[in-house]
């Protein structure tokens, strides 16, 4: 905390650059500090099994964080990500239970996710509902759908082939972790190596200037929501495979962890700036924090308080640095 406070007072002309540098730096230090602290406080924390466990636990929010990063970079937000995870798990489980071949069931679920992404893009870009409200509405509506699909009950009976998505191991690494890494690599390439990524940063930084530079910003933002919803649907399927069932409550409250991870990672909530490398650290912090607090037997309600405060601190630091650099 102290180092960040000091970093806010660095020299003016290049203040923004060094601030961004230091905020990136800070997040990795915080991660190391957390890991050291928990390993001192708990004997089991640093074990290989527990570390792999953390990675497996964060894989769901990690996959979604890539989509969320892109959404937030455009200046938007997706509150419906948790509900989308729930709905896709239920929908996919329902199809599997009905005997639809696994590949087809997964494919159809992903198509459904894209459909909801398209609807969201439409609501935001054509009807001009602010992203916060559009996805708030969807968050509630989709959660309702997740319950309705099987009368509020979970769906069991996931075939072995699908379980692999959530429970498999490859080269001693849980398969969901490999999926998360793949999604991060894909996200990194999209953001840093393509015109799409460049235009995404530009549009988030200044939508009108981007439009006047020839970018079709509505199309661009619609693509971003399509991608985000695709990823949350995919994460929902992986979660379903991991817990062996479609759970109507699946993914509840995940939007909180995911948004916190992204903002912790240095992505500005105002849009336009932030790197995926930082988001990886943000995701890890959220995972380490949850895992460590559970190992230390910290009360669940206290965990909520901690997570809420982490989000506020992360956004607060971002806003402070924005405010400073404007002056």
């Amino acid at each position: 905390m102290d180092t960040t406070q000091k970093s806010l007072r660095v020299e003016q002309p290049f203040g923004k650059v060094s601030l961004q540098f230091l905020s990136r730096y800070w997040i990795f230090i915080a991660l190391v500090v957390l890991i050291v602290a928990f390993s001192l406080l708990s004997d089991s924390f640093l074990s290989k099994i527990n570390l792999l466990n953390i990675l497996r636990q964060v894989s769901i929010i990690g996959i979604c964080a890539v989509g969320m990063t892109m959404v937030i970079l455009t200046g938007g937000i997706d509150l419906s990500v948790g509900s989308m995870i729930g709905v896709s798990g239920m929908a996919c489980a329902l199809m599997l239970q009905a005997g639809i071949p696994p590949v087809l069931a997964v494919f159809l679920t992903l198509v459904m996710g894209l459909g909801f992404g398209g609807i969201t893009g439409l609501l935001i870009n054509k009807i001009h509902i602010p992203p916060l409200i559009a996805t708030l509405g969807l968050m509630t509506a989709l959660r309702g759908v997740a319950y309705i699909l099987n009368g509020g009950l979970p769906i069991y009976g996931i075939p072995e082939s699908v379980k692999f998505l959530g429970q498999g191991w490859v080269f001693g690494i849980p398969f969901p972790v490999i999926l998360m890494i793949a999604v991060f690599v894909l996200g990194y390439v999209l953001l840093n190596k393509t015109a799409f990524g460049r235009h995404l940063y530009g549009t988030g930084g200044n939508e009108e200037a981007s439009r006047l530079s020839g970018v079709n910003v509505e199309k661009l933002k619609t693509k971003v929501y399509l991608l985000a919803f695709f990823l949350s649907t995919f994460a929902g399927i992986v979660l379903m495979a991991r817990v062996n069932s479609g759970q109507p409550r699946g993914g509840t409250g995940y939007e909180m962890d995911i948004i916190t991870a992204v903002v912790l990672g240095g992505v500005s909530i105002m849009g336009g700036s932030g790197r995926l490398m930082g988001v990886i650290a943000g995701v890890m912090i959220m995972g380490v924090l949850s895992n460590g607090m559970i190992l230390l037997n910290i009360d669940e309600y206290v965990q909520w308080v901690v997570k809420g405060l982490v989000l506020l601190v992360a956004v607060g630091l971002d806003q402070l640095s924005n405010h400073k650099s404007e002056q």
Binding site: A195, R198, Y201, G205, N206, L212, S213, G214, V215, G272
Partner: protein, 491 residues
């Protein structure tokens, strides 16, 4: 007796000195004009007096006391108010509610609407207008809204009123109301600082005039001891002819033609632009020059009309379409519409041409950077590296970055909207030189500028815009500020 006195006021911004030690005095009860070209420092001076900005050095004395610099609230309480050409009224509220906003009259716990309406009415009457206090401001014309703004300023017991280009968006009839109000205020003992580009207004209304140029104080004169020509000479400070690079190439055939463009404000605009030509659009602020440019560029929806380039009709529904047709726009507001301040120079320059630096959808940084570096060097952007954030550059260099973006994209028609606004003198002449260079290479340019000398100095032909229509075409032999102003004002 002096009411306001500036003592060596200096205001520095990174790379620009907006005020370079300005001192002058204001007599109580006078209407005092402040004149100067755009960028002369008028706005900065006003903002210093109203407390919107803090001077870097120097101070202001008001009624014998040093003004609390940078404290707008305290300064209003001292009796200094300002009205600007952009209105700060709440359109949904009534006239009376606007006038007394933040200064309401109460009866016990509740607002005393009747009393406020009554006070507003007498205030408006004292300004010589019969606006009704109960109507919503949005139902009034701009001119009457400006009078409401004036009443609002006066209601705060103001002794010194600053008017920053108050008549710029007004019609002739509305200007007359404004005149009347100003004269009545003067009779009531209010001192007025009147900033305007319009010479005739200054001669009609003001007692004295102070001229600023490039942030320097030039002279204060009694208005009846000065001629229009003398004023212009003092403001411009140099002859127009040797400042602007001359065209040395022959103009080509018609390249861009627009026929009967219509939108909300733009009415039936037709003209054509030759290859290699600089076509100036003159007009008062709000006349529709920017709107015409934005229609051609697809930034605003076109109601009807046709745009052809090199004889081929182009369907332009978005900036994307316009850019594909080879049109580029350097918007009037560089910081909010032109440059992407949070991105690097290189990212800005290549922003509209990323396709050509992509191979199978993946960007090729080497190719991209070599190309952006080439244009950055060609346009002489002053920066240690193309990785510098554009937000850290001076105005002139930001403008060059925006220009580089379009040149890299091989645009054949470029629209410059106020290309040198907020840019220091040295960078201005570089921009002029660049405009000539690109037209020499066959690019056609539409130039919009409120700086008359610059517009007349650069343009091969000038179209005067008034109230959304083109009212006159002028050729170099007919150029004069007076002629342009005459047509621009609708005579």
């Amino acid at each position: 007796m002096s009411i306001l006195c500036l003592k060596s006021v200096v205001k520095e911004y990174p790379g620009v000195q907006a005020l370079a030690g300005v001192s002058f005095e204001l007599e109580a009860g006078e209407v005092h004009a402040i004149m100067g070209e755009n960028g002369a420092g008028k706005s900065t001076l006003i903002k210093t007096v109203t407390g919107a900005i803090k001077p870097t050095r120097g101070y202001v004395v008001y009624q014998g006391q040093t003004l609390p610099s940078g404290d707008p609230r305290a300064i209003i309480d001292l009796g200094i108010s300002a009205i600007y050409q952009e209105l700060s009224l709440f359109p949904e509220l009534t006239v009376a509610e606007n006038i007394f906003y933040g200064n309401e009259t109460y009866k016990g716990l509740f607002l005393d609407k009747a009393k406020m309406n009554e006070n507003a009415l007498s205030l408006l009457k004292s300004l010589g207008t019969d606006i009704k206090p109960e109507v919503q401001v949005k139902t009034l014309s701009i001119g009457f809204q400006q009078l409401v703004e004036l009443a609002k300023a006066v209601s705060k017991q103001c002794k010194l009123l600053i008017m920053d280009e108050p008549t710029a968006p007004l019609t002739n009839q509305e200007v007359k109301y404004m005149y009347e109000a100003v004269r009545r205020l003067q009779k009531q003992g209010v001192t007025i600082i009147y900033v305007s580009h319009r010479l005739n207004e200054v001669f009609d209304l003001c007692d004295r005039v102070t001229i600023l140029r490039d942030g320097h104080y030039i002279e204060t004169l009694d208005i009846d001891k000065v001629t229009e020509d003398e004023l212009i000479r003092l403001m411009v400070g140099r002859t127009i002819t040797n400042e602007y690079p001359k065209r040395t190439h022959e103009l080509g055939d018609d390249y861009l033609s627009v026929r009967s463009l219509n939108s909300g404000l733009v009415k039936d605009v037709s003209f054509s632009l030759k290859k290699g030509e600089i076509l100036g659009l003159a007009g008062l602020v709000g006349a529709g020059r920017t709107e015409i440019a934005r229609l051609i560029f697809g930034a605003d929806p076109l109601k009807s009309g046709e745009i052809t380039i090199d004889g081929v009709t182009k369907l332009i529904n978005s900036p994307h379409d316009a850019i594909a047709a080879g049109i580029g726009l350097l918007p009037e507001d560089r910081k909010t519409q032109g440059a992407l301040l949070t991105m690097s120079i290189s990212d800005n320059v290549s922003y509209s041409s990323l396709d050509r630096f992509s191979s199978k959808g993946i960007l090729q940084p080497k190719l991209e950077r070599a190309s952006t570096q080439e244009f950055v060097s060609k346009l002489n952007v002053k920066t240690p590296s193309i990785d510098q954030l554009v937000g850290n550059l001076s105005g002139g260099n930001q403008q060059k970055v925006v220009l580089a973006k379009w040149l890299l994209n091989d645009c054949s028609v470029l629209i410059f909207d106020e290309p040198t606004r907020g840019i220091d003198v040295g960078a201005k002449s570089e921009i002029y030189e660049l405009m000539r260079q690109i037209t020499q290479r066959g690019v056609s340019v539409i130039m919009i500028s409120s700086e008359m000398p610059e517009l007349l100095g650069m343009s091969d032909r000038v179209l005067v815009v008034h109230d959304g229509s083109i009212v006159k075409e002028l050729h170099p032999e007919e150029y004069s500020q007076e002629t342009v102003l005459k047509y621009a004002s609708g005579f």
